[in-house]
Symmetry: C2
Subunit: 568 residues, 2 copies
Amino acid sequence: MPKRVVIIGAVALGPKVACRLRRLDPDVEITVIDRDDLISYGGCGIPYYVGGDVNELEDLYSTASHARRDTEFFRTGKGITILTRVEAIAIDRKTKAVKVRHLQDGREELIGYDKLVIATGSTPVRPPFLGSDLPMVKIVSNLHDAEAIKNLLKQGKVGRAVIIGAGAIGIELAEAMTDLWGVETTLIEMADQVLPMALGKTMTRIVRRQLEEHGVRLLLSERVIRIGEDPDNGSLLVETYSGAFPCDLVVLSTGIRPNSALAVEAGLAVGRLGGILVDNRLRTNDPDIYTGGDCIEQRHLISGAHVIMPLGSLANRHGRIIADNIHGGSTLFTGTVGTFTMKVFDLGVCKAGLTFRQAIEAGFDPVFAVVSQPDHAHFYPSAQFIYMTLIADRRTRKILGIEAAGKNGPAVKARVDAVAVLLRHGVDVDEICSLETGYAPPFSSAMDVINNAGNVLDNILAGKNRPIGAAEFIEKFRADEIRTLDVREASTAAPFVEKYKERWLNIPLSELRERYGELATDQPYCILCDTAPRSYEAQVILDAKGITNTLNVQGGYAMILATDSTLL
Amino acid sequence: MPKRVVIIGAVALGPKVACRLRRLDPDVEITVIDRDDLISYGGCGIPYYVGGDVNELEDLYSTASHARRDTEFFRTGKGITILTRVEAIAIDRKTKAVKVRHLQDGREELIGYDKLVIATGSTPVRPPFLGSDLPMVKIVSNLHDAEAIKNLLKQGKVGRAVIIGAGAIGIELAEAMTDLWGVETTLIEMADQVLPMALGKTMTRIVRRQLEEHGVRLLLSERVIRIGEDPDNGSLLVETYSGAFPCDLVVLSTGIRPNSALAVEAGLAVGRLGGILVDNRLRTNDPDIYTGGDCIEQRHLISGAHVIMPLGSLANRHGRIIADNIHGGSTLFTGTVGTFTMKVFDLGVCKAGLTFRQAIEAGFDPVFAVVSQPDHAHFYPSAQFIYMTLIADRRTRKILGIEAAGKNGPAVKARVDAVAVLLRHGVDVDEICSLETGYAPPFSSAMDVINNAGNVLDNILAGKNRPIGAAEFIEKFRADEIRTLDVREASTAAPFVEKYKERWLNIPLSELRERYGELATDQPYCILCDTAPRSYEAQVILDAKGITNTLNVQGGYAMILATDSTLL
């Protein structure tokens, strides 16, 4: 057993290693060093602190029983020494010592170790355009940054804000500013969608709609050229290729990079993405040095590629594993499937695995199904829709990814987590069709949305269901390339028929076996119902009649409403 | 491909087979026969219809788009013939025909088949005690029974009711009667707990508490001797070994038996539990006869034993599989892990796999952990506790079962479903510790309750955490067999110290490393904190000091509050 363990970094991974190790070994000397004075905090809570759901900064570094997790807490309660305002400046692997500098007085010293843990995390990238370093252009890399932004908001100094980068943190901050503080918020994203790393085309539209409905101005496919400052009043001007946006505050959330410089300088192996390389015991190429969390490259279990996955949940899991292994155990971490959850106003958004685009990039031949279905039995009151994309590889039928969104967040999470945990086991479409999740009318349907996503994907793979996405349907319909066959009841379809005349044919499903002759045979039709089971059935009926020039609008009118409300 | 498919039974499995088969094959002739006139309904919705969450009986046999699923709906919309009020009275396997009787006129006829599906479901057992067949002693086996009970309630004819059997349906009916109708409801159960087939000792106490708090009178370990009827006013008297309970209505919910008589008479193989035996394509020992749902024996994938599992979710999954296989496919059903969900007033209750007792009966050496933890990050508002039992086999570390309860039902379901779907893959404790479910502060903790359940079980298996259940702790404490070491803050512990004096020692965890000398060395202590991480840490600290005569109260004071509030 090691006698002295030194840990560089005291936010998430570091304290987790320290506490678990202490519980495994009462005698080992544990020293954690950190540049900051605030430690052991829930960084993922920062947007909620800014937005007011979390009142005090202190709540983010307190335990559930309201004890402040400061150096005293760790010293007396855990027997762990945490040195704050101390920076690690070099690792000497030969003598097994970390050279540190005390930031208060510049004093330097060497701290010897038997085992070393690098828990240096990541830093938000400050993009290279002019003005990205102006005082009112902020990044959020720690609690001090969060406090500074919240103070500006509290003092009423922010009427308009621009957030650059529509990843999870950018979106959470946009929500925080709009919701509580009523800041006019503009969210600028370089990609053609929000959450480009997390979501495919359909689910990202639902999030976009949610943001816009809540008053966030969204600019996609937009690049910032520079940020200027008015010398008189300090207000900012964000210039992009398409316009200029005056504001009082800019927040940059354009991604992170792993803090691996210390490791590089110490000659540890670092990957192509800049993350430290580890084996499946989370050990670097130096057997006495472990690392995890945001500063490492992890194997993505579906693509096989290395990824940087800056998630607090993974950092905590890594922490326990590292402590076990330092203590002589053999606990493995084989990789991640990128399970991801977030709240966007009152929408829960979850994903795991690869998006359609990522699946293509990883060399798969992906096929996807999109479904919409209430979160529980339709006859039980207060159902909320769940919208879902399920992606499989055409040849192997293995599931590659799942994405879902809906207003009952925990219910969305239930479905995505159930598939997420199976991904590493190589789950196929057939297993999803029969997935044995719990059923009771208040909480699910007998054939739950997840089973139906499997069923639809199975039908698509079998060539029985020829789908078209809701967005593509709208495009083609507007371009007059297709007609709509609406198989809902006459009363539901009436306003559409009135608006679109002969381009919107209504034959309720129950009458289709008799009335299919009314279809124009030289016209392609997109078949539409509420949520797509009836339109699929209509497609099957028409196929049997030899009318095969049809596409089934995935997720039905519910999906159109969730992504685009302008058909009526 | 078969030309004529006959299906006996039109509730859940039957219509599912018929509809899927029609979508696979536009030409096959499909005939479904049923004794009843109401068909294709959500039987699991009956308690919610009785209780008023579902207004009209019709809602239970309507589609999401409000079409009534009657014979006309199936005939015109699906091309499926459903014969109602027609009873199957014999299967002639030689000539491949079903002999049926039209209940309206007694006419009999033979209906020939190429493939036959038995979807006869199950019937509630009417126990053999005297009076179980009185007119006001009801069972709920179909919508007519449900309507009759609701009419009695509506007419104000039920002031007091006795429900016999505290399984899921008995509990749901007790809730329905108490909640909306204000009926004085007594629930009588033969076993020493509610939900004896579904839950272990700890979780069942939470459900019991919930029932009692909502005014249901609960009698456990209680046997009914007879039910008498007052000839003057028709009121009933339920006599048990411990008393007599007058009431206006009795509902029996003492389990079901599979409707397999027809299969038995036709010489099909039936198992020890009375269910029809099937292969993994859901085919009986006659290759032209398929069956599924409540009337079959399924393999439990953890115990390996046969079980009758009357769940609408499984019947629907079976339906799709049977249709695929009739159509020449090869879709497999290998068994069930018994995933189960229900609502008990505002509590969600979920389980999968085996209970501790069932695990012993199945020959395992089970070890379990009980944890309590908020459903999301403690710093984010409105957290609700999730209480959880996780059970593993000592030797293999394989998970055998999981049970959980909490007021955020969908969040409880998320955790249990994630483990449920893994059970058939042989998941072990270590996989649960690192289970990659989604994290965001509004929806989960970085180390989620499910991970912590794994961690605690890992620590127990390693002998580092010596646990005692909350209920056993209270028993031993009341019997003066142990003292309590309360490691919460002084202000929290004060009222307990005041009440129990020297039997309730308070040393906050942060002071334990200095003050452990205050413990009486000749006394066993149970260590208590809010939710058990601090008490576990205290146990580890004391172990290092040589004080090992301690037990850690599982789930902490949160679990005591959830199961028994009488300590203060």
